[in-house]
Structures are given as structure tokens and as C-alpha cells.
Subunit: 313 residues, 2 copies
Amino acid sequence: MIPTKEEVEAACERVKPYVHNVPILKSSFLNEFSGAEIFFKCENFQKMGAFKMRGATNAILQLSEAQKKAGVVTHSSGNFAQALSLAAKNLGVKAYIVMPENAPQVKKEAVKGYGGIITESASTPIARQQEAAQIQKETGATFIHPSNDRNVILGNATSAAELFQTHPDLHYVFTPVGGGGLIAGTALSVKYFGTNCKTIGGEPIEVDDAFRSLKSGKIEFNETTNTIADGLKTFLGGVNFPIIKKLVSEIISVEETEIISAMKLIWQRLKIVVEPSSAVAFAALLREKERFKNKKVGIILSGGNVDLKNLPF
Amino acid sequence: MIPTKEEVEAACERVKPYVHNVPILKSSFLNEFSGAEIFFKCENFQKMGAFKMRGATNAILQLSEAQKKAGVVTHSSGNFAQALSLAAKNLGVKAYIVMPENAPQVKKEAVKGYGGIITESASTPIARQQEAAQIQKETGATFIHPSNDRNVILGNATSAAELFQTHPDLHYVFTPVGGGGLIAGTALSVKYFGTNCKTIGGEPIEVDDAFRSLKSGKIEFNETTNTIADGLKTFLGGVNFPIIKKLVSEIISVEETEIISAMKLIWQRLKIVVEPSSAVAFAALLREKERFKNKKVGIILSGGNVDLKNLPF
């Protein structure tokens, strides 16, 4: 059930020609500030600006030639819509993207810019699922879920795998938790390439479904989604939850103000542009920094697609 | 008079242990957008966040032991104040910084954070020069000018020198032009390490003193300094102007709106935080992009110390 080491290694080889081995940044100020030695894996520098490029690429590369010919379909208003569009374009495959009709124009433009074919739907989960099913039926395209897909998870695992290539002795790897695809993939690489290393998730208190899911042992949902970390409003799924339950040590929930200060510290000190979602993992470390003193910590900065006109500082 | 290749090479060896060989970033979007192949040398990732660390470090390392013991002094309200403070701290030297009494508190805090000893003065050029002279007299400290100092210029040359180590075939290197210390140093490295490569400056039209100085053959000044690029309000000096006159091919002046759009493109596409001054060099290339089509262009992104509360977008 849990993907094997060989599967993760194969995903690394498979996506290598299509994704950036993004830089790992350090800051002596942030090390001093946190007490930990932090290695930031900068997926904001990834193609299309987020780690999602890894999972989307791996999922498409696993399709048969006939499947590739018919295209792929997903529903997303966020980074996965762009990732699937660009990954498909790079591989000569059609990408059908179901987006809510009220999605920001700038996001629709970005998807179009990467060659995605947009179908608008009402903004309810059921409407978009129906729309995607309709497209599958009409075109024969393969549905690829943004986070709850084994090949997407394996693709996402390649970021942490790269981190261990140069830093095999990390004590912890932190990621943000949204739909669960990044932390599940990361936990696989921590298990297979780490030495006594633990995977920890950061999650906004406002959407702490994963935190509660780990406690209750079943997938929980959010009643409201009042967080600045707009990539983290989704919930876990039947493919990634078993991996998370087995391999993730804990999830630390953080306040909105903590997310904003962590984001500001990253912008000011690392001099890089990251999304609020990316800052959540760092905020989780800072919240409990006494526990991570003198530890080597990897943090996956998930992406950098942010609206510069709408910053929280 | 013009520093020799051996002097530049010696500066590279001298500062190497004390500065970052900062990454060079590329963006396929920005290449397509501009028509040129651009290599961004990211001095925003430098220690204290700007290329000024290079010149400050080289200047202090060239002092005798007796001079080091007495300390260094400069007047600056910007990046050089922080650079001299940190470079001095790293080398166990005292740094006296004359800052205008109306300088923003956050800049004073930054200088203090790096161990600089601040003396406040009235904000006129004469008042700060007098204050610095007084400190020299009292302490025996050596005055180091932020841009018009041979060793500062040689230190600044090391950024472009690193660029040529991996990209020896650049056709052009662009830098912003303020006090002239960066472009003078860059032009030395272009001359000694480039192959048929030219140095071009970018300067705000609002403070186009260097543009006019190259035309008239003598140092010109600005009557007003109404630009967002606050690092570029200063004028050239007797040490750097002869180098600039001899080695810089041209200076391209840009509008404020061009600076802001270039800055936005860098933030959005490279996902990095740069100062408005840094964006001026890229804005200059974009303004005349037809001329640089299919050329390999290095751009020195000078720094990333920007007030996140006061962004132009």
C-alpha cells in the first residue's frame, strides 16, 4: 500500500529532466533567531512557481501513450491547475482544467498562458466534480487529482529526496499541510533517505483538519476556511491519509499572525518571494522552537505565486 | 591610474572568505519577454543584503594593522552603512557611521544590529562630512567613502568577476548607477575577464547625473532626487569617474514607471526580493530590448533591502 523506496527513486529519475533541482537556501540570521540550523528547499523557484510541478509531471509521465493522447483533466483554481497545464504542455499532452467561474482572472490567465484548456463551473465541489467527469466522458482524458493521487504523491516526494542528497543528516523535515499530497510524499523520502529523521506538518489553526484527522484516525473536514494560506484550505484523501497516518510524526497548528510574521521573515531575510502557505511550515517550527534547538531542519517552501497587490504587510 | 587585472584578481582572492558567491538566476519567461538570454547575479542574497559588502570588506582588508586598530568611519544612510558595520565586525574592527538624524529608525537599528557605532548629524552633505572628519581626528579612524574609493571599487568588481567565471561569453553586463562604485568595478571585470563584452549602466531619468556626466566629460549633479531608486541619488566622484569615462559604453535612462514594472517582473518571475535600485538595470535593458535580442546579458541585481510596508505595487 505505502509506496516503496524503489518507486520514489524511479519518480526521481523520471521527473529529473522536467523539473528544477531548486536551490537550498540558508540564513545565519534565521538560524540564530530560531536556534535550529535550517535548510530551505525553495520550490518557489520551481517551474510555474510551486512544488506541484513535480507531482503533475510524474503523474503524466506514468500514463500510457493512448492515455497521453486523450489528455488529462483536473479541477483546481490554484497551483495544480498551472502545474498540470505546464507539465502537459512540456510533454505534448492536452490539459483540461475545471475552474470555478469566480476564480480570479489572473489565475485563469496563468493557466491559459501555460496552454491549459479551461472549463468554468459553479464553485461548489460537486459542480466541479461533475464538470470534470463530463470532460472525462467526452474526451477520454485521465483525471488527475491535485493531492490524492499516488503518482502525484510520488512526484512530490522528489523535493525532499533532493534535500537528502546534500543533507542526509537532517533531524526533521517540515512541510505545510493542505490536501496532504506534499506531506505524504515528503514523509516517504524522509522514511527512505533520512537517518532517524521525522516529518512534521505545519497547518493553520483556522483549517486544522489534518491535525484533527491525525488525532481521530479518520479524515476530518473544515467548517470554515478563514486563512491567508489559500493553498491549505483543502482536506486529506483516501490515498494520502494512510501514508500520513503511518509516517508523519505530528502536525503543529499556527495562528494567522504567526503565518504572516514567518512570511515576513522569509521575505526580509532570505530575500525571496513565497506564498503564505509556504510560510506555515516555518511558522510551525518557530512556534515550538525550543524543541528544535541545535537540530538540522529541512523546510519545503512550497511555492511563490502570490498577488503582489494584496500582501499582508 | 585605472586598476590593473592583477589588482582585481587580488581583490577576488582577498574577499572570497568573507562574502557569498551569490547565485546566478535565469528565467525562461524573462528571456522570452526580453528577447535576450539574461543571467541575474543576485547580490540581494549577499551578506547584509547588498553588493556593498564586497567593497567594504576589501577596503578594510587593505588597511594596515595599526589602521585596523583605530577603526573605520563613513557617512551613509543606506546599504554602505550596514556593509561597513558588518565587514568591520567580521574583521574585529570598529566602524563609526555618521547618519543623518532624520534617517529612518529601521536603518539605524540595522546598523546597530551589525555593530556599527552611530553618530547623528544634520542631514546636509557638509554637516556629515564635518562630523566624519571630527571622528577621524578624535579616533584616528580611516575614512572609507561608499563609492569613490579605489579599494571599494575593486571589491565591487568581484561580483562581475564571479559572473564571468561561469559565463565568460557575455555580450553585455548591466548595472545600476548611483555613486558609480558598482559600475566602475563592474567595468574593470568586463575589461579584464570578458571577451568583447560591454558595460552598460541603468539610471533613473530623475537622477541622470551619470548620463549627463558621460556626455559632458565632467561630473554633473542632480538638482532634484525624485526617484523610487533611493540608492541611486548620489553622484560620481574623482576616483570612479575616470574609470567610468574610459570603460563604460553607455548609460540608459529610465522612467519611474519602467523601474516599477521591471521590479515587479523580477519579484513575480524570479520570485526574489530586490530593491528598486536593482530593477533599474533590468529596466534599462527592457527599454531598448530590440538592441539586445539574442545577446547574452549579465545583470547585477545590487541588493534586496526594501521596506515591505512601502512597496510600489
